[in-house]
Amino acid sequence: MSFHTGRYFLLALGVILTFRARELSGQAHIISLAATAPSVLSVTVTSGAVQTIANVTDNAVNNFPIPVGIQTSWDLNPGQTSTVSLIAYFSVPAQALVGPTQIPSSRVLGRMTTGIPTTFTALTQNAVAGIGTAGGSLQLFAVNILGANKTDTRNDNLDLQLNLVGFPTLPAGAYVGVLNIRAVTQ
């Protein structure tokens, strides 16, 4: 095969391969592609994560010093979510604060003027959608999810009180507890 003859042969082979390639593309499998951005739901305490009453007064309402700043963010599919709820709760309602004795959650009151408990309300509610504890919870807000707010962030203040009116005299000492805050979709 001369040089020219060989060149023509390669050219012809290339054309054949090109046609064959087109034929192969016509037989490609259908692959359905689906990419779903994961839903996002987060809660952040932006301020007041540590609350201290330096000198508790018996038989009186004791205010925790500053509000708890709470930021709740979500990115959801409104077709699959109807509401976002924020819940505060104590893990063991009978022992909301523990020291020389125990202070139950019924003596801890919360208020969120931008939410549901606009007046001080005891943490004695039940869980919401599995979040919280029976008799130790308080639903802080519930917001409907629509197209306009499927992605949103809200900031709220939670005010806390310790109501010792009618409660037995507290033995002296430090009483500590952890208030849990979590959001849930429904």
């Binding site: 359905s32 002296a172 507890g177 429904q186």
Partner: protein, 185 residues
Amino acid sequence: MHALSRQALTGVAALLVFGASSARAQAGLTSNLATVALTATKAATLTVSTDVATATLASITDNSTANNFSQVNLTTAWNLTAGSSVRLIGYFSTPAQALANGSNFIPSSKVQGRVGATAYAAFTSGAVGGVGVAGGSLQLFSQAVAAGSFLGTRNDVLDLRLDLTGTTTVAGDYTGLLNIQAVVQ
């Protein structure tokens, strides 16, 4: 063409399955757990109160112990985090002049006190736990306390009298101030 339709149906089915699983994930989606640490401190307290501000003796009898003041009821309350005893001390700031009538004085050694059925004793002891005056004090009680009794209260009757045995007083009104204070040790 038949194979193509089958593949397309497979893809649609996969999408439906994927979508269903996504819906399940959003209903009941929970956030992270945020927490707030709460601390409330009840301060230790120790208080003494009396039912009257004044104890009186209408007429002094010289050379006698029959000089009883009117009764004083004491209430002592404590709410503690530590300590082994609560002690109540009565004392005069200036022992040599417990009661005064101008320049005539009755010293604290002539004033006696007792709580309950105990014997009378003069106010001549030293301070207790920094409370009191040397030579002008009297410990009225010592109450043991422990973890189970850090919160408590007790009521006592304080009897006071003048022991003027061997003493003749100048006529007149004698007044003085008895201090009563509790201390934890």
